[in-house]
Symmetry: D2
Subunit: 360 residues, 4 copies
């Protein structure tokens, strides 16, 4: 099979680098186009990220020598790739405009940015949870007059540590009404350079700008429904999130308490539902789909970021410590890899779903 | 004023070392007696802790040359001190027996251990909150046939990061009904050697053995009432605690959400109540009493362990980020120094209160 | 090809666990026997390491259910495997006796321990450097009356970060006379639990017991010659080593200055010699041989432990910062993965060499 | 005694903040003037550093409300203070020009910057070592036509961990000919934000830009002599320095090997010389002078940054592990607090010496 040519817009940043790293040897996709700010344009990719390549391992050979293009030159991208991953770092309005331009130019945009997460006709995709939200693409194109282009986004990285576990219970007939969550988030979530080491050695920071708001709002859309060409939040679930930055490289950990709306599963039912949980990406055997979207660890001190973040190529959610809650019905600890499942890896899975469903 | 002679039972461990350090130059108390396991007995204190002194600074000169005694020799202690701080590290029943023996031998025991925290006639003391619980000492002595001896204990270190803030609201007429708390606790809380560095570099551990149970139970007793010679839990408050170990040397941080039972103070009322909060130790001007038991930081990313743990000689609780909660009435972040306020410093404040109230 | 059955003696410790992890799916070897202390004997391997498995990923399925044997039961091992990896944790004389017993029982011993490193007829093997030292096995067997058994050991983990770079120069005709080295060593080198997190957060320890002595002595034997059935140290090289423990999980970094004995290569010659360096394991295409035993990084701030330790499956030495020295002829920074190249991975490469050379 | 009014030029940066912190309640000096970039000018100091105050504790009350001035307005400074501490962060030529302007305006400049360290008539001062270099101020003023103004600087922070120990031997008649040093330096040395936490968790960086060059050159001037109105390097000593960044907040550690030029003291002589070492600041009883400029620790694993950096108010050098060197005559480990002794505290001690000697 001839691989599909893809572009990475914002390729020199940390998320962009992760796309480059993870797409190396991808069975379906091939990076043929990299774009970034005018400052990097004209350099080879290796030159553009010299001294700033923060991934493990080296820059893949196939990308080293690609010449970085100006992200604003949408027409150039059109000539070199079939769709783009967007992870540009600009002000919000500029990102919104740029992504719209790519879509208008017939280039599907699989975005990592937060700007379109509250746009009513843009799906916030977690393929295991709401693959059916892709249906809104038709309305999105229609409304905006786009032919082949469209925009899909992924949610904030930190909610991924508990969304699949909650969804597994919802779809089994146990809707969750209330969620208390406190996150312990890795520094890679802040990009590079991100948090200063002076702030993170022998310390934690109990604040991440905008993170609590996103964590309380985005899940409602992910769990929502399409109605009249718009995504309607599921307001039957309410979330309270405390977000902390901790001195961990990768892996967002979440301490979660759940109250069910009506029927309450037993703890053993919950574990069984998690263990048995498979969804669309597994059925479609998407290359980046983890065989077990939820992995349960029996040890009483797991999951732990360094030990569990790479489970199933860093695409699974690892959970543990399921136990009764003194105030709600149950509580547990969840973990996912924020720069893989929560960023570039999640974006790639989104693109794989789009390909499998015929959108790209 | 002639200083009161005090003994430290369990003087070679980490909490014991902290007592030795903090009691250096104490205006009321003077360490004249140190005891530990038979293994250390007979050595000078300096010899006994050689290679294991983990405090900043050196061993105080006045203690270096004290000969460590066998903690089991209660009579020996009686001859050298007026009361003891107990922080022995033995199995629970052995600690219980030993503390009882000291008390029976007319030596008041100010304990750091958890064994007596659920004993009905032993007060779990936070001087700012429940100084009046000392009245149970009369019943305790009577019941056990002790003359001058008695036992008071302090609660688990991690709850100190939010107990005073909750109490300030309770006593102002805003009883709290529900508390969700997630702690990020320092490694010093596990003693020495405690957590392996292999577990704490680039990692957090979402589990501390027994900590969640203590955190959900002890506050009820601290907030409780004396009735018929026993301390009766306040069951009108319910707590759910998730406890995590993080790579921080000192300082337990707590993310807290509160639901009030009836009347709900506004956020600005809460802040004012915290700022104005003073209690018995401040009124009595106890040497270790922090001038401001609750310090509020306005910055949106505080308190932080390394930056705030030493506030007012590490005896204050620092709070910040007071804001509405999406599920309960409000939420905030609290921090206290676990080995000072939460351990040896808290024990010393307990002893100061006992002295001021005439019990020792 | 039928795989060779191997035993791991000391299988439950950290090095033993790494052997189990690295030997999973090895093309030549298969773990069929695991032994440890009597305390673990009789349990399945999974039971024996429950709560103590510190490797990334899970216990390989093929080993989980093996019943752990008592390491002292040498005859039992003989029935189940063709040779053993030894990484027991006992006192030195006990290790020496035990390894001798295995060898006497016709079981070749590939040891990770230090006890035999100064034994005159036991080779200290780094396959890239002194593969020809295997010839002493004949003398070793003869002297001790062993038939098929023998003992080979590997050197201290920290010297591996600079031995190959020095050897590459020696064999090109540039003998090195003096080496100043200061190491920054990872905590995994101390085993589990090893260094307390209280000692390693916001801290370094400028001391590792016995490490400097080993670092100054073992290289002389590795670079030595066989004469009259004994390994004779190369005393033409002198080394001064300062060894430090730093808060890094894996990867020993070494700052090295070299003075040449006679001819001095230019910096560019040194780099070329390093880049071109291949040796016996590469020629024999041993499964664990890194394609490039020495990898040179051009960036001025590399190698770094977290970014470079996994180079070529953690079996390469990464070097960088080659520059003139203000006192000696040149200086550079070297890095190797201490628990892979420096321990279990190095042991496996030793065994592969032994197999390729017909000794097992 | 009326306190001397002092200005801090570059007051909002990390070194400037440390001056503000350390000068609080200084017996001789009082901060009456703070200046920074035009961006901060016009704000109160508290406003200017809002969110950037990285010191422990809060901004001193006496400085909170000072209005920050534009550092370029030299005349304004003249009206408010008797001398200035300079720690501006600008390009080198701009710093040089600015410091010259302050000196020309009759304001002595006690500088923390590196720009004048190689200027022949500017002393690089460590009061314990080369207080007599102040005599060059006369020549400096003469040459430049300055009346009351002058410039003195302090050396690079990392060399302070071994300069005093070397000087103690030199002045006792044991000149040192060769020094091998490898440093493990704290992140605070890079200022704020400095090193990214992504680079410093589970990692070390074997490179600090320009640090090795400074470390090999500045000591020669500190140990030098005045001749014909210039400071002449002592070229009888040669140094090789490897500099590393490690995940430590404060405290630069140095592993040092020494070769003596002629006479070689025994290890016990060295220890005695260090223990007995006192110098000008101690004789003059300068407020910031540590009673013991060199503190020797007998434990084999000290000094350690977190445990020893605060020795004698963070102004002493702590040494340990004195032992023979396999290549040179002896080796040891040294430690000093880089942001106190090595920066603001060292600057204050310089100013105290200048005051005591009548220069300000």
């Amino acid at each position: 099979m001839k691989k599909i040519s893809v572009g990475v817009i914002g390729a020199t940043g940390m998320v962009g680098q992760n796309y480059i790293r993870l797409l190396n040897d991808h069975p379906w996709f091939e990076v043929t186009y990299v774009a970034a700010s005018p400052r990097s344009a004209g350099k080879t990719y290796a030159q553009a990220v010299a001294g700033r390549w923060v991934m493990d391992g080296d820059i893949p050979e196939s990308v080293r020598h690609l010449v970085v293009q100006d992200a604003a030159q949408v027409a150039a991208a059109k000539a070199h790739c079939a769709f783009v991953f967007s992870c540009v770092d600009m002000d919000k309005q500029a990102i919104r405009d740029l992504e719209n331009q790519y879509a208008a130019a017939d280039l599907p945009v699989v975005s990592n940015n937060s700007v379109h997460r509250q746009t009513a006709d843009v799906p916030v995709l977690i393929p295991e949870i709401n693959a059916e939200h892709l249906e809104i693409i038709t309305a999105q194109r229609q409304k905006r007059g786009w032919q082949k282009g469209f925009i899909v986004v992924k949610p904030n990285c930190s909610i991924q540590s508990y969304m699949a576990p909650i969804h597994a219970l919802r779809q089994a007939g146990y809707p969750v009404a209330k969620v208390f969550v406190t996150t312990l988030q890795a520094v890679s979530g802040a990009g590079y350079p991100g948090n200063a080491s002076l702030d993170m050695i022998d310390n934690v920071i109990p604040f991440i700008n905008g993170e609590e708001e996103k964590s309380e709002k985005e899940p409602l859309k992910v769990f929502g429904k399409i109605a009249a060409g718009e995504l309607i939040d599921d307001n039957a679930i309410a979330i309270s999130a405390h977000c902390n930055r901790v001195p961990v490289i990768d892996g967002h950990l979440a301490c979660v308490s759940l109250a069910f709306a009506e029927k309450k599963p037993s703890l053993s039912q919950i574990r069984e539902l998690w263990l048995a949980y498979r969804s669309v990406p597994q059925q479609l055997q998407l290359p980046f789909a983890p065989p077990h979207p939820i992995v349960y660890r029996e040890e009483n001190n797991r999951p732990q970021p360094r030990k569990d973040r790479d489970t199933e190529n860093a695409m699974s959610v690892t959970v543990g410590r399921l136990r009764p809650c003194n105030l709600f019905d149950c509580r547990f600890v969840g973990l996912s890899h924020n720069t893989v499942r929560g960023a570039a890896g999640g974006g790639i899975l989104n693109a794989e779903l789009l390909k499998a469903k015929g959108y790209i």
